[in-house]
Point group: C2
Chain length 350, copies 2
Amino acid sequence: MSMNKDVITLLHGAGGSYMYSLIKEIFYQLNDGFGEINLGMLDDGSIVNDIVLTTDSFIVRPIFFKGGDIGRLSVTGTVNDIAMMGGDPVALSLGVIIEEGFKKEDLEKIVKSIKDTSIEAGVHIITGDTKVMERGSIDKIVINTSGIGFRSRQLDHNIETLRKTREPLRWLVPLNLRPGDKIIVTGSIGDHAIAILSSREGIGFQANIVSDAAPLNKLMNDIMEIGGIADAKDPTRGGLADLLNDWSEKSKLGIYLKEENIPVRDEVRSAVEFMGMDIMELGNEGKAVIAVSPEFEKDVLNELWSNPLGKDAAVIGEVTKDVEGVVMETVIGGKRYIGRPLGDPVPRIC
Amino acid sequence: MSMNKDVITLLHGAGGSYMYSLIKEIFYQLNDGFGEINLGMLDDGSIVNDIVLTTDSFIVRPIFFKGGDIGRLSVTGTVNDIAMMGGDPVALSLGVIIEEGFKKEDLEKIVKSIKDTSIEAGVHIITGDTKVMERGSIDKIVINTSGIGFRSRQLDHNIETLRKTREPLRWLVPLNLRPGDKIIVTGSIGDHAIAILSSREGIGFQANIVSDAAPLNKLMNDIMEIGGIADAKDPTRGGLADLLNDWSEKSKLGIYLKEENIPVRDEVRSAVEFMGMDIMELGNEGKAVIAVSPEFEKDVLNELWSNPLGKDAAVIGEVTKDVEGVVMETVIGGKRYIGRPLGDPVPRIC
């Protein structure tokens, strides 16, 4: 792909190394170090006075897809960003930008979905903003949700349990990772990206896969209640590859994965092979990757398995000093470095 | 204008009665009454655990205009929403959606402006999100800022001073209004809308007017320190007409205005007459309308006059039981009902 270096490209918004370059080149100057977790830490959100603040804009296409819609996604995305830091999401804002001529009926469906998902997650939409742009100046609808979350009893307990093996920070962050921590994924990978793709017209394949978009805040509270959670993150844009490289870079530790342990649905695997994509780079919207202290591995797994949202949870690897970056033992017996993707192979999945 | 009732139109995003209908018809179902100030109260933001949360999306065109740009606006808009409730804005999120092909140089200018305005307001950008859409699927760039603010010493003091004349709520809200309260506007009206219009190509007039976009949080703290402030609101989309009707409806009190006291720059007045617009409906981005208990009128005015952002402040009317709705005594001696505008006469001013 030929690239004009002076302009923004789709890759700059795709959750990979191009996006990080853009953030470091242009947005990083906004970081003034304010907050216990600040802008410069590039986490899912930031923290001031024990309040988590996070924001996410949703440009997914199509707006209604197998297993969800832009409304469900805009609640789950922000709820999960807060939950992944250990926060208890409480209140969300809703900023909607609509194209002139958009059907009210579709807006009603989206708002109903926002309402249902908020109830499912136990969060409240407390404020909003509505803008309309002329026909042709925006593609249908985009939604921003921002949200606040508070410190919970479960997080306090979880951090306390970590003290036996390390000096943790007060929230779930990559700096809590230690060699030996087990890496758990809460379920099968790639469902959301493939559901989105197969909901698009003219793609040339049909898969019977639905999006995994779901709020994970209750599941996170349940496993923090058990303890030993060093960090958690949801593999959205850029997938597992981006997430694990992020952990490795920030913790300055290696990550060793076993490919055979990574849960992937047969239909997703077929679609990925058909499309020539890398499953490691596919986005998910209802999965968490969790680094857990080894003595809590079994209990956390049991808890996850008892939850419909975690029933396919699996240990996929561990944190280690023995490798640099992210290394995967492949099913055919070799080893492969997993790099940070340039971007997401499926654009506009969220 | 012929309207298809089943689709969203530009008027639905223009801050007038069409927007309120849309909110009541579709978004209102999201209100579950959560928060000391909740979604259903349709204020500038909402309040949970003494935290103000607010959100605003910015679609202004052109993105660089006389006296500002979309970056400055996106900080001042959210800062002012928090300040108008009596909150002390502390931290903002920044969600940017960019069109593929957008010049990095322009993005840098916008981000620099965001930084400068944040410093001016004393707030921190602590988290963000970047998305990119294909060329043609979004017009250049839109920005969402959301923000949190805390309860301040000045607000506590202000509410305490109100107790002598009424039983106030704990924040600056329309329900605090009482007959006899003086209505102050902090400066000239219409500058922002006319600056935006005259920055557009092919409009057919040039005015030497710059946008008034400015953060008002420090000014608000200064006057709350004096006391007697019942409510404050910034006349953005829909202008004074929308704001005062909102106050009248929510407080169930009348508002009586004197046209001759409303500060308007000569050039703005000329432009408004040339364009055949109603000055009362024009949007502003650096002005506040304040309802103040009469015994604090003089001191609040003196404080405003000592501030560059309030030097043209004037008492434009008062809250009363003697009229219903919003009534204006015109300069030629008649009386005119000021209705809620259908929308803003200048689209996409913020």
